[in-house]
């Protein structure tokens, strides 16, 4: 029987890459029609942020054959976004960025299904993030980057030898821009350097000495910080925390900062500066966003299709004077608190008779560990639990009763991870309990 397949011209340009081999392809690449099929029907990607980079990314993915796209953003659309966040119109001001962007793409690109999530990334747990093949982020905050970074690292499972199981790794492509500068990087959690490994690449947050703010201000920024750090709590004008998005709050800060600036003969205070200092605003340039988003989208494409070597692993772009770009291989920080804690496994034969004290004795006496004074914590039902800590009197008194309890009685289960701090190690170590025999033994 002859099967007639309607030629879908729409993806012809992708077919040229995915269905034939070429001199620059990744060595192991096997061209086939299945890959486009995978992009269209199976591959699920998450775009974090629907702002400057997010709009560009969503457009790029929708035009590149990705059809299952989720987008998450907690922000609403503001007037000042419209010059570069081109999925939004004036009438959309005040609406959710994620929802509006998704609606726009779904309407414009037939067959593309963008699912919006109008919330914080922190509102979802592992089961949400685990479902994606690749995650791409266009965030404006280091805190959010580190959170998602930590989340993706926690998705990685290890075998008994402590090696990561690569099928649990969700790659993350991170893009960032600031004015005419931008960067893109590929992160394979636990395999390649993560956000925390290279944390010192981010400029430190500007912070001024408290006494300068309180008594000897010299800059308009000092006056704004004074209202923010000292006066706000003292006067509490709106009975709530300072919100840099609230125009009433901004006016209050501006007015009080101006009073202070006048008192100390400081010039240069403007409403915009107040906004800038309170919200840490950095100017956005749409062409930079377009370049970085395009690079991120290509990296997602390369990883999803394996057609070409992906970026290894950090790319920098700068077009202040001419255009300058390079890539380099950032290195993993062996001491990274987020990704380098190698998980070691301890086999436990009898969790119902082994007490916490027995476990601590084991950690102190076993030649592999030889700990001196370990403090142990873990996570139970998403909450931190201190199992035992001898060095701090108040904690010791409250956790001493745990020592005589069995691991079962402490609700520790097979696969439980314990965080152990000890003077013998510069960092906390992570130990995974493996219960080798769960059957009740008869005596």
């Amino acid at each position: 029987m002859v099967e007639i397949v309607p030629l879908n011209k729409k993806w012809n340009y992708l077919r040229k890459i995915l269905e034939r081999s070429g001199p620059f392809q990744q060595e192991t690449f096997e061209p086939s029609g299945e890959i486009l099929e995978f992009l269209n029907n199976t591959c699920k990607i998450l775009v974090i942020g629907a702002g400057g980079l997010g709009c560009e990314l969503l457009k790029n993915f929708a035009m590149m054959g990705f059809k299952n796209i989720d987008v998450i953003d907690m922000d609403i659309i503001e007037l000042s976004n419209l010059n570069r966040q081109f999925l939004f119109r004036r009438k959309d001001i005040g609406k959710s960025k994620a929802e509006t962007a998704a609606e726009f793409i779904n309407k414009r690109i037939a067959g593309c299904k963008v699912t919006p999530h109008f919330c914080k990334i922190q509102d979802y747990d592992e089961s949400f993030y685990r479902q994606f093949h690749v995650i791409v982020s266009g965030l404006d905050s280091i805190v959010a980057r580190r959170w998602i970074n930590g989340m993706l690292i926690s998705l990685v499972k290890y075998d008994d030898d402590g090696n990561p199981d690569v099928s649990t790794i969700v790659p993350m492509i991170d893009g960032g821009t600031e004015g005419f500068k931008g960067n893109a990087r590929v992160i394979l959690p636990t395999l390649s350097p993560c956000i925390d490994c290279t944390l010192d690449l981010y400029p430190p947050q500007v912070s001024y000495p408290l006494c300068t703010i309180a008594n000897t201000p010299r800059l308009p920024e000092h006056c704004i910080e004074y209202v923010k750090v000292i006066l706000w709590d003292k006067e509490n004008p709106f009975n709530c925390a300072l919100d840099g998005d609230d125009p009433e709050h901004l006016s209050f800060v501006f007015e009080k900062a101006q009073e202070r600036a006048n008192k100390f003969n400081i010039t240069g205070l403007t409403y915009r500066l107040v906004q800038g200092v309170l919200k840490n605003i950095i100017p956005a340039v749409s062409s930079t966003n377009a370049v970085i988003a395009a690079i991120c989208a290509s990296e997602v494409f390369k990883i999803a299709t394996s057609c070409y070597e992906y970026l290894n692993n950090y790319m920098v772009f700068n077009d202040i004077d001419g255009i300058y770009t390079y890539k380099y291989e950032a290195e993993k920080n062996p001491e990274c608190l987020a990704c380098s804690s190698k998980v070691r496994t301890i086999a436990i034969k009898n969790p119902s008779s082994m007490t916490l004290q027995d476990l601590i004795d084991y950690l102190c006496n076993n030649p592999e560990y030889q700990l001196k004074n370990p403090g142990l914590t873990t996570t139970l039902n998403g909450k931190n639990k201190t199992l035992y800590m001898s060095t701090v009197k108040s904690i010791e008194e409250q956790t001493r009763c745990n020592l005589t309890q069995s691991l079962h009685e402490l609700n520790l289960s097979d696969g439980q991870e314990l965080v152990i701090a000890d003077v013998t190690n510069p960092n906390s170590i992570i130990v995974k309990l493996k219960f080798t025999d769960n059957e009740v033994e008869m005596y």
Binding site: R146, L188, D196, A214, T391, V392, K393, G415, N427, S428
Partner: protein, 182 residues
């Protein structure tokens, strides 16, 4: 290196394997280490209202020398999710007549703000706070009146400090009694 495309297909097959929650954050790993290694001077004690929450605790300092000898001062420590890349928030809960601590409990200690570095620990802050009581610094004042007195009349400053710690008005500000009764 790894071939993600083929791996993804495997992933689809055996998706919902055994799931183990592990929410070890960098802050948690680091604070566990810091707290386990707290090496407090005789003059300091800590209390943890909830021993499972190592991120919120109080530090009680009872100086045994200097102007503030026999006082008892309580500091509240709040360690954020960005620790150790951001310093903990430290506030003095005891109203104290001190040039570098204001009446709201804000503390002017360089390592709590502009000179904080991730290599510093909770212990470093404790030593910093202790030093603040031994050597109040009139150069960088938060409480300007106290600083002026310290600079111009040490005897009066000493007198004011011990008066405030016994519970009294200094100028028009009332200071609660905060003597160490132990």
């Amino acid at each position: 290196m790894i071939k993600l495309f083929s791996l993804k297909q495997q992933k689809k097959d055996g998706e919902s394997g055994g799931q183990q929650k592990s929410t070890r954050s960098a802050a948690q790993l680091r604070i566990t280490k810091d707290i386990n290694e707290l090496n407090l001077p005789r003059t300091c004690t800590t209390t943890f209202p909830d021993p499972n929450d190592l991120l919120n605790f109080k530090m009680i300092i009872c100086p045994d020398e200097g102007y503030y000898r026999s006082g008892r001062f309580i500091f509240n420590f709040k360690v954020g999710p960005n620790y150790p890349h951001e310093p903990p928030k430290v506030k003095c809960e005891t109203k104290v007549y001190h040039p570098n601590i204001d009446l709201e409990g804000n503390v002017c200690l360089n390592i709590l703000r502009e000179d904080w570095k991730p290599v510093l620990t909770i212990n470093s802050i404790v030593y910093g706070l202790q030093y603040l009581f031994l050597e109040p610094n009139a150069e960088d004042p938060l409480n300007k009146e106290a600083a002026d007195v310290l600079q111009n009349n040490r005897r009066l400053f000493e007198h004011n400090v011990s008066k405030a710690m016994r519970g009294a008005y200094i100028g028009n500000v009332y200071f609660d009694r905060c003597l160490n009764t132990n």
